[in-house]
Structure formats: C-alpha cells, structure tokens
C-alpha cells in the first residue's frame, strides 16, 4: 500500500444490505480496496459477487431498499457515505463519472446524442448552450466519432453499438472527472469493437490522468487495461494487488480457480478447469471463509472466524489464511504460460 496522499478512492470494510421480504441480502459484506490517482483498477468476480453494488454504493445510487450499513468510502479526501444528497449529486458527473454496460438502454432514446453529451457541461460547468454544444462536438471528435456535427443530431437508435458506447464515454468525459467507474463497459459489444473501446479508454486515461475502476468478469479485459486488481467473491474482496502479481502468482484459491477456468491457447493445460459448487447464499453466508466449501485447499481452521484481507508484502493483500498453498500449486503448474 502506497502513501495515503496519492490514493484517490479508498473503500474500507463496506457493507451494503438489501432488506427484502424473504430476508436481508448482504450484497456487499466487508469490501475493501483502494485506487491510486491515475491508476486503473479492475474489480473482478462472478455475477452476484457484489461488484456492481460496490460501484453503485460509491455513486450513492443504490437501488432501493438497498443501503450502506457500515464502512467508509473516501474519495479525494471526502467521506462519501455521510455526504448529503445534494453534495453527492454535485460530485456525480463532475468529479466521478460512470459508464454503463448497455449503451442502448443507458442512453435516452428520445434525446439527440449531442444534447445528451452537452447536458453535463450545461448542468455542472455553467456553460452557455452554444459553448456546451461546441464542447459536445469536441468530445465526440475526441472519442473517435466521425462526422460529429451530423452525428450529434442523431438519436441513439440510429447509431451502432460501438458508436453508442463512444457517446457514453463522451458523456462520462464531458466534465473531465478525476475518476471514471466502468460497469462492464464492453460486455455488450462484439470482440473487435470491445478492443477499440478498451484502447480508447486506455488512451483517454493516459491523456487526462484519470483514475478508472473497471467492473468486469472478463479477466482478459483486466489484463489489458488495469494496473491493479481486486477480486470479489460473495460480497467480499478476497485478494488485491498488481495485475501482474495477482495473475501470475495468485494467493487466494478463488483467484486461482478463476484464472484456471480461462481458456488458454498457449496450451499450458490439457483441460479447462472449473470451480465446483455455487457461491453461497448472501442472505445467510457461511461463517469463516466463504469460499471454503468450494476450495480444494480448505482446512478446518478455514471454517471459523472472520477472514479479513491481510497484507502479504509487495502491496498485496489476501483473505486466504493459507496463501502458501496457492503458491505451491502455481509452482507445480503455472497459471499463465511463462509465468
């Protein structure tokens, strides 16, 4: 962990609960990770692991009746969980922006895309209509939309999926935020467009020095775009560290399982592995390590007591109490060719 000064976002022991009639879902149950200024962090995990909920909690936009029960979210020196609604609103869009998974549904179908891009500068930067319009065209050029003055007049359904996601990015960039949260930004796109969009996000991040949080279940996206990664499982962050360290030397059996279940054309492995079993029910999560029931290394001490993230050197943290087991397994059979 580096000095606190260059950390732009620090999430500590975040708990999000969703009370339902059947019981309370602990969607996020003790998630901790941090993002340094100018850094791209991947938040990975399977569906229902709480990655999207963590993002929504940071934005203060949890779906009702979900709410934060405890924990801290410190962004750029201010504690977000105690901000008033109006203060949070001033932050959103201006200093933290969000990019959504599905560019078709996240754009207003009856509004011209140019107007949608111009909204941020109009609302947050106090731009005049003509200045905001010029800004919209400039942003469209920046994100690689050809012929911006004509495309600005278009409605979302008149644009292709890739173009729509570029519009989303232009909207997110419109007020030059210091951090962008991406909720599976490329999942809805086909592979070639996905690659273009990721490259665009990468170059923009470098150009503006923004921090980026990528929520995704696609490990390849994380490897391509991020410096650090936080792995989530059943509402908790189970491992953090640099992408290189975590991907070559995982120290949590869940991370190892995830990496082993990615097909690899370099043929290090004969067959594709999978993680047996299913994630625990978040209404009544098991005591002890949540992954223990599916873990081949589990021992009796895994089943009791909380398993917080513990620093293990090199700025890495893991929630596993037997990280050496993973190290051993990786030594026997490397996860990634040449690793």
């Amino acid at each position: 962990m580096s000095s606190a000064g260059d950390v732009i976002l620090d999430v500590r022991d975040l708990h999000v609960e969703i009370p339902l009639s059947r019981g309370t879902v602990r969607a996020v149950d003790g998630a901790s990770f941090s993002v340094r200024r100018g850094e791209a962090v991947g938040l990975v995990g399977e569906s229902g692991s709480g990655k999207s909920m963590t993002l929504r909690a940071i934005m203060g936009l949890l779906p009702r009746p979900g709410h934060i029960t405890s924990g801290e979210i410190v962004f750029d020196g201010s504690e977000l969980t105690t901000l008033r609604a109006s203060q949070l609103r001033d932050l959103r869009g201006k200093r933290v922006a969000m990019i959504f998974q599905e560019p078709m549904t996240a754009l207003n179908p009856v509004m011209r895309v140019g107007d949608q891009i111009a909204e941020g500068p109009l609302a947050h930067l106090g731009y005049s209509r003509s200045k905001a319009g010029a800004r919209a065209l400039e942003l469209m050029r920046l994100v690689g939309i050809p012929d911006p003055d004509r495309r600005a007049q278009a409605y979302p359904h008149e644009l292709s999926g890739g173009m729509r996601q570029r519009v989303m990015i232009a909207i997110a960039l419109s007020c030059e935020p210091s951090m962008i949260l991406c909720d599976e930004p490329t999942t809805a796109l086909d592979v070639t467009i996905q690659d273009q969009i990721l490259k665009l996000l990468l170059s923009l991040r470098e150009e503006f020095g923004m921090s980026v949080v990528f929520v995704t279940h696609d490990l390849a996206v994380v490897a391509q775009t991020c410096q650090s990664v936080a792995v989530m499982y059943a509402g908790q962050v189970v491992e953090t560290g640099s992408v290189h360290d975590v991907f070559y030397q995982p120290r949590h059996p869940y991370t190892l399982g995830l990496l082993r279940s990615v097909p690899d054309f370099d043929l290090v492995r004969d067959s594709l592995d999978f993680i047996p079993g299913a994630p625990p029910d978040l209404m009544s999560p098991p005591e002890g390590c949540r992954f223990a029931a599916r873990c081949s290394f589990a021992q009796s001490d895994c089943l009791h007591g909380p398993k917080p993230l513990v620093p293990i050197g090199d700025g890495r943290e893991t929630a596993c109490i037997h990280p050496d087991r993973c190290a051993e397994a990786v030594r026997e059979e490397p996860v990634i060719a040449g690793g």
Binding site: L61, L91, T105, A106, E119, A123
Partner: protein, 292 residues
C-alpha cells in the same frame, strides 16, 4: 471494398425497399386521423369565425317569427323566442368547444405534475397524492361534478373549477404508472449518475418518454368533458341562458319535439358529430404516436 462504396443499382426483379416513414410523412395516410382532423378542423373554424358564419345574432329575439321552419332567411328555422337556430348552433359550438379544450388543459397540467412527483419520488409523496386520487375516484365523475357545481353555483368559471378538480386524477394515474416503469430504465440511472437535478431528469429525460399516453388520452377526455358540459347545460347548472350551449338548447327544445323537432335534434347531432370527430382524432393520434 471499393465496389461496395459505389451506390448500388437496384437489381431487376427485386421488390423495392423503402425505409419506414416518419410522422410527417405518415399522418395523411392514417384515415381516422385525417377524418377526425377534417371534422374538428371544420368545427373549430366555425367556432373561431362564428360572427362571420352565423347569419343572425344568437340572442336577438323576433317574437313575430317563433318556431318557424327552415327558410332562406332562417336556414334551420327559429326557436320559441324567434331566435335563429343556425346562429345559435354556431355560437353554442364556440362556447362548448372553448370550455371543452380549456377544461382539459388545466387537469392535464396538474395531473401530469402530480403524477410525475408521485411516480418519481414514491414513498410519502406517492401516498399523499394517491390518497387524493382515491378520494376523487371513489365518486362517479358526473355526480362529483354536479355536487361541486351546486356548491360553487352555476357558470363557466365553476365548470372549469369542477372539471379540473375531478379530471386531474386520470392524468395523474396515467403519468404515475408510466413513470414507475420509466424510472427503472437505465438511462434514468445514467442521468442520476451524471449528477443531474431531479427536475431536469423528470422534465428532460422521463417526461418525453411517457407523455404520449396522456396526450392521446386528452383527446378522448375532451369528448367526455364536452359531454359533461352539455349534460350540465341540459340539467340547467352548466352554461346559463342567454348564452347558447348545445345542452341548454336541447333542454329548451324538447317541449317542441312534436312541432319543431330540429330545435333539440340538431344540437344533439352537433354533439354527436363533435364526439365522433374527437374520437377519430384521438385514435389516429394514438396510431401515429405509437412506436413502430
């Protein structure tokens, strides 16, 4: 690739493909819309240019020529006070259409605003608004309007107030229901994530996606309101004599049904034609505004 960039010549024998038409190109191909537009257009023109269209003053009495049949002087004849029936029909249309349109605009606005607030904010706001909606809905439309009119006393301004107090609930329920669906859309979340104010999100993002239903309903609502105004005139608590209104004309004429059937029948026909015209217009508009 270069060949593809060239404009493609239509291949022989293939059916021609034309992209779907927009609203501007489609409206005249929707028969009910065109028919409604012609009927209502004619009625509105008649109402606006009533002083030119009418041959006499609607209130001038000519007691020497009462209950006369149609003639070149009085096209539709005269009533029991010798007033020209054609001129009265025209002026009555002016009154009824004016009240009808105005008495729809106010409930439309109030209902839309309250529906937006209830649907978007939910919780206590929704509970309070729904409480008032339920109170109004609990009574039949016409009975509640009659009760309010008796309290306020007859007259045009009382009609506006009564219909507004009762009519807003339909728009409120429509808009609220549509917003409950629309606010779960991701573009609303995206607008919230962009830090926009609630007022801007409602007006710029949600309302344009939900207002169509209300506009279509307003078209059919005018028919109901018009029928209510005519009914009120008929029972004597609506538009007051001597101002002509189709309702009080029907009421006045019914004593002479056997001698001068035109006195009641023609205002009645006018109501029917207006109702049909507005219904056609509403149906056509619904067809046109429905996404393809």
């Amino acid at each position: 690739m270069a060949a593809l960039a060239e404009p493609v010549e239509p291949a022989a024998g293939l059916p021609e493909y034309r992209p779907a038409r927009g609203f501007r190109q489609r409206w005249y191909r929707t028969p009910s819309f065109v028919a409604g537009l012609i009927i209502i257009g004619a009625l509105v023109l008649m109402a606006v240019f009533a002083p030119i269209v009418a041959t006499h003053s609607p209130t001038d009495q000519d007691l020497k020529n009462i209950l006369k049949g149609p003639s070149s002087e009085h096209w539709l004849g005269t009533d029991q006070l010798g007033r020209d029936l054609w001129s009265r029909i025209v002026y009555a249309g002016r009154t009824d259409l004016k009240i009808g349109f105005l008495a729809v605009i106010l409930p439309f606005c109030i209902g839309t605003v309250l529906g937006c607030l209830a649907g978007y904010y939910g919780r206590i706001t929704d509970t309070i608004v729904l409480y008032f909606v339920n109170v109004v809905v609990a009574f039949p439309f016409l009975i509640l309007i009659t009760a309010i009119l008796f309290t306020l006393g007859p007259g045009q301004s009382s009609i506006y107030i009564a219909i507004t107090l009762v009519g807003w609930v339909s728009y409120c329920r429509l808009v609220r229901a549509e917003i409950l669906v629309a606010k779960r859309q991701e573009y609303v979340l995206a607008a919230q994530a962009a830090g926009l104010r609630d007022s801007r999100i409602i007006v710029r993002h949600i309302l344009p996606n939900v207002i169509t239903q209300s506009i279509v309903f307003a078209m059919s609502d005018i028919v109901l309101v018009l029928a209510a105004i005519v009914t009120l005139g008929y029972i004597g608590i609506g538009v007051q004599p001597p101002t002509p209104d189709w309702g009080n004309m029907i009421a006045d004429g019914q004593n002479f049904l056997t001698t001068r059937w035109q006195l009641s029948t023609i205002p009645g026909l006018a109501v029917v034609v207006t109702g049909i015209g507005l219904s056609l217009l509403g149906d056509g508009l619904a067809d046109l505004l429905r996404p393809e």
